[in-house]
């Protein structure tokens, strides 16, 4: 029963979602919303599990004085601080001065810092990807070079002697609109069909390893 009930729920919910996509009539129109609401409720309840796990793992690290236990102490301290300030703000805690300040002036800058690292990683990854090791990599290198050149003003300056419509920016647009888009669409068609197939396997109960085991 431990596995059959989740499979039954998955099957029913999956079928209802597919049917409600094509039948707008009651009860399908409402069932779709109900299931979405239920998922949100379960998701909200599950956050307690996550928070509890985070505190337990971090506490154990501190108790064992495991490597990097200082980070665990920071996690617990900041967790207690955010929760404490949030609760003290009452119902309108989002607008409360302390909570808002911590979010805007601590979380957002830290988050932006992480995101900013991406710029450097793009450079290092591009360096590796664009090394002309074989024919495919060389084609990638040439295409990338042309697209990059076509995206900056100097690209059109270099090809200024060419007639209108044959400038570097036009070539870059052509690469993006035709070969690139064709390849991306092929991948997207594959993804869509893969989604259909995987969803059917889950709805029919063929795929059940996410529930913990095969049979």
């Amino acid at each position: 029963m431990r596995r059959e009930i989740p499979l039954l729920i998955t099957g029913i919910v999956g079928v209802v979602f597919i049917v409600s996509y094509f039948i707008p009539h009651w009860p399908f129109s409402q069932m779709n919303n109900w299931f979405s609401d239920w998922f949100s409720i379960i998701q909200a309840c599950a956050i307690f599990l996550g928070a509890l796990n985070l505190l337990m793992v971090s506490s154990q690290k501190i108790a064992r004085k495991a490597e990097g236990w200082g980070y665990a102490a920071v996690i617990i301290a900041t967790f207690i601080m955010m929760v404490g300030i949030g609760f003290s703000g009452g119902v309108g805690f989002r607008e409360a001065a302390g909570f808002d300040w911590l979010y805007r002036f601590m979380y957002i800058p830290l988050s932006a810092t992480m995101f900013a690292i991406l710029g450097f990683f793009v450079a290092s990854a591009s360096y590796r990807a664009f090394r002309a090791r074989n024919v495919e990599a060389s084609l990638l290198l040439v295409a990338a070079f042309l697209v990059m050149l076509g995206r900056v003003p100097v690209g059109d300056m270099v090809t200024s002697f060419m007639p209108d419509g044959s400038q570097m920016s036009d070539l870059a647009s052509w690469i993006m609109n035709f070969p690139q888009k064709a390849g991306q669409r092929a991948i997207m068609i594959g993804i869509a069909l893969g989604l259909v197939s995987t969803s059917l396997r889950i709805i029919l109960g063929i795929e059940r390893s996410h529930l913990g085991g095969g049979d």
Partner: protein, 420 residues
């Protein structure tokens, strides 16, 4: 002396012209400013005296293919609604329910000419009017005739999508049935999946842990489910080789599901005692907070193998490059086309789109699952046929100018377009 004289003699005309030219410009400027000011005043005067034109041809229609809770309003914008220089600042939509009092249901920007009214009742009748608003005036349209929303059973405008769904799902089910009967099905080799066991073996040899990242979406994303099915196979191998697996997650539900999956893997391998809950740990739902924590784990623990399988967004390259920098062998896979180039650039093996979904069937080698993979091929066949026929007809229509070829292309295209 004479040249000097002559020079000094020429000075008065130069001085004159120097003074005259600015004066002329100043005069022209004043004249122009005055005329502009006059013009502005005139415009203001005109608008102040001219009444604002209301919207016209206001029509309330039933919204097709809904549960009978929507109506569609369309109108022709006021003739005073001109981009940039127009007088109309906004439109207000008013609703009258069962001949009651009108009440405002929406305020719209200029140039808008449609509005979908929602949350209506099938047992009530509705009338509407639109108020065009300007700084100094307003104009009301005519009130529409009373209308009651209607309910439909099927979205007939999505008939093409319905047929495609039935065909593809039918094909998948037929092939599952065929595979169950014992027919041998060919599935091409997927390099990324062939490398899974090799990558686990490497971690065993190096005595370092495996890091498994299931993306940052929740259990309602099929990519996360696909990732967890691969995790089942990985967990079994990890248990067999007795190595350490670390799985930091960004969603609490994924944490509980992943624990069940890994536990089942250990049970299948006959080592349930070796499983501990701390193999999977929740970090945070926040995208970059999670990334910071995972990067920290990578740098501190230096895993031998990193799996990046699931739904990834801007963090894909940050994670993959950090994994690369610590020398881990990386197997990545996602169904988000925008993130695939990053994985291809930074990882050793990448499961491209559908390969991620095919992974569980491929690794399990179960006939039913393999049958579902073959069913996908029918969908691909239809897509390929439509593309080839469409491209050929479009090219020939352009070359020959034949009308019927253009119509045929349009017909094929309409079968793959979903209209709302």
């Amino acid at each position: 002396m004479s040249p000097r004289r002559s020079t000094t003699g020429a000075r008065p005309p130069v001085l004159c012209s120097c003074l005259l030219i600015p004066l002329v410009f100043f005069f022209l400027f004043l004249t122009n400013s005055a005329s502009l000011a006059q013009g502005e005043t005139e415009v203001v005067d005109t608008t102040a005296t001219t009444p604002l034109a209301p919207v016209t041809s206001l029509l309330a229609q039933d919204f097709k293919y809904d549960d009978g809770d929507k109506l569609m309003l369309t109108w022709v914008p006021s003739i005073d609604d001109i981009p940039v220089t127009g007088r109309v600042t906004a439109y207000e939509v008013y609703q009258i329910c069962n001949n009651g009092e009108p009440h405002r249901i929406a305020e719209l920007l200029p140039e808008v000419s449609t509005f979908r009214v929602e949350e209506l009742h099938r047992d009530s009748s509705y009338q509407f009017y639109v108020l065009a608003l300007a700084e100094d005036a307003s104009a009301q349209s005519v009130v529409t005739a009373a209308i009651t929303p209607e309910q439909e059973w099927l979205k007939w405008n999505w008939l093409n999508l319905m047929v495609m769904t039935i065909v593809v799902c039918g094909a998948v089910m037929v092939f599952i049935k065929t595979a169950t009967k014992g027919r041998k099905l060919f599935v091409r080799k997927i390099a990324g999946l062939e490398a899974v066991d090799e990558a686990i073996g490497r971690a065993t040899e190096m005595g370092r842990p495996i890091l498994y990242i299931p993306g940052i979406n929740d259990m309602d994303d099929v990519q996360t489910l696909a990732s967890l099915t691969i995790l089942g196979h990985v967990a079994e191998q990890v248990a067999n080789y007795d190595i350490k697996i670390r799985m930091p997650v960004a969603r609490s539900l994924v944490m509980t599901a992943a624990r069940e999956t890994i536990k089942a893997g250990y049970q299948t391998a006959g080592r349930p005692d070796a499983y501990t809950d701390d193999m999977v740990s929740y970090i945070t739902d926040e995208q970059f907070g999670y990334v910071a924590a995972v990067n920290g784990i990578m740098v501190r623990e230096k895993p031998a193998t990193v799996f990046l399988l699931g739904a990834f967004f801007a963090e894909s390259l940050i994670l993959a490059e950090t994994g690369n920098s610590v020398g881990a062998i990386q197997i990545a896979g996602t169904a988000r086309p925008a993130q695939l180039p990053f994985f291809i650039a930074a990882c050793d093996f990448t499961l491209i789109g559908e390969e991620l979904f095919a992974a569980s069937a491929y690794l399990s080698d179960e006939p039913k699952a393999l049958g579902s993979l073959k069913g996908q091929d029918v969908g691909k066949g239809i897509a390929m046929a439509a593309i080839i026929i469409g491209v050929t007809l479009t090219t020939l229509a352009t070359l020959t100018g034949a009308e019927w070829m253009s119509s045929a292309t349009e017909l094929i295209r309409s079968w793959f377009v979903v209209t709302d």
